[in-house]
């Protein structure tokens, strides 16, 4: 598996993601700038957390027009794995690769905490290795309040696209949604940070199963492709 972590001007969790992928799981990982126009060398593409383009205008709104986004849309059409964490999730919704939008937390302020999550669908590319129904992950965001209208919510629920739900809904998200997948099952975004919970040193290893899920899915997928 070859992974890319895209750095936008203002990304600040790119090295956290690199560390998790490369140092913890031994994945061949490259950090690439948002000016890149070719992602054909990678099997999985990660959009990290941070404040792309200073979050000017709206979170993720300007990043969505970065040169790399055309290549990302091509990668999506090829069914490659695309993951957006926090600001990366906001960028994926702005780009229309995931439904909905992220707005200001319902209570004023930036939340930096640990939150409880339930695994709402444990049979996906991103969740198949989770062995417990609830986990804890760090969160750090000011605009994590996920919004979809009623029709979109019904569609997400009907297709089992909601993968993680908050146990205490710290930001006011619709239906406690913390992470959603696209209909095709290859694009995923979440506000919590699994990459910050992969090592005993960090005091939390609940994020490891997220990366193990992707590795397991990709191994199966690559085997099938090579037949």
């Amino acid at each position: 598996m070859k992974a890319a972590v895209i750095t936008f001007p203002g990304s600040n969790c790119d090295y956290d993601m690199y560390y998790a992928l490369h140092d913890e799981f031994g994945i061949e990982t490259t950090i690439i700038p948002a000016t890149t126009t070719d992602l054909s060398a990678y099997d999985a593409i990660f959009l990290p957390g941070g404040f792309s383009y200073g979050d000017y205008l709206r979170t993720g709104a300007i990043a969505r027009f970065s040169p790399v986004m055309d290549a990302l849309i091509t990668a999506n059409q090829q069914g490659k794995i695309i993951v957006g964490i926090c600001n990366g999730f906001q960028i994926l919704t702005e780009a229309g690769l995931l439904p909905g939008a992220l707005q200001t937390n319902i209570q004023p302020g930036f939340i930096c905490d640990e939150t409880g999550l339930t695994i709402a669908n444990a049979t996906t590319t991103f969740t198949n290795a989770f062995e417990t129904p609830t986990i804890k992950l760090p969160i750090a965001h000011g605009e994590g309040n996920y919004y979809v209208d009623e029709a979109q919510l019904a569609e997400l629920q009907g297709n089992n696209q909601i993968l993680f739900a908050y146990t205490d809904n710290p930001n006011g998200s619709v239906a406690n949604i913390a992470g959603v997948m696209n209909k095709a099952g290859n694009v995923f975004g979440m506000m919590p940070h699994p990459e910050r919970a992969v090592d005993e040193l960090l005091g939390n290893t609940d994020g490891r199963a997220f990366f193990q899920s992707i590795l397991a899915s990709l191994a199966t997928h690559l085997e099938v492709s090579n037949v």
Binding site: A101, P108, N145, Y147, V148, G172
Partner: protein, 84 residues
């Protein structure tokens, strides 16, 4: 040359936490008659183009594409003819 004044606000169905917080502050300041606060964004964009129809078309297009998130926000605008 035209100056486009563009106002972006949340759709009425979307909770506006910033507007609500400002409203609470105004109530604490004892402006009890304050009913509602809408907090939005304001843009002034100059376009070097003398065709007002084309300017309107552009403003509408780029507002939809970039200035607003169509899931949550709406916009309105005014065009003012200015000296180049």
């Amino acid at each position: 040359m035209y100056l486009a004044k563009i106002y972006v606000t949340y759709k009425p169905s979307i909770l506006d936490p910033k507007g609500e917080t400002v409203k609470d502050a105004l109530h604490r300041m004892e402006y009890a008659d304050v009913q509602d606060v809408v907090m939005g964004k304001y843009f002034e964009i100059k376009l070097d183009n003398s065709d007002v129809n084309q300017v309107a078309k552009e403003v509408e297009a780029f507002s939809q594409q970039l200035l607003i998130n169509v899931n949550m926000e709406v916009f309105r605008y005014e065009l003012e003819k200015i000296e180049g």
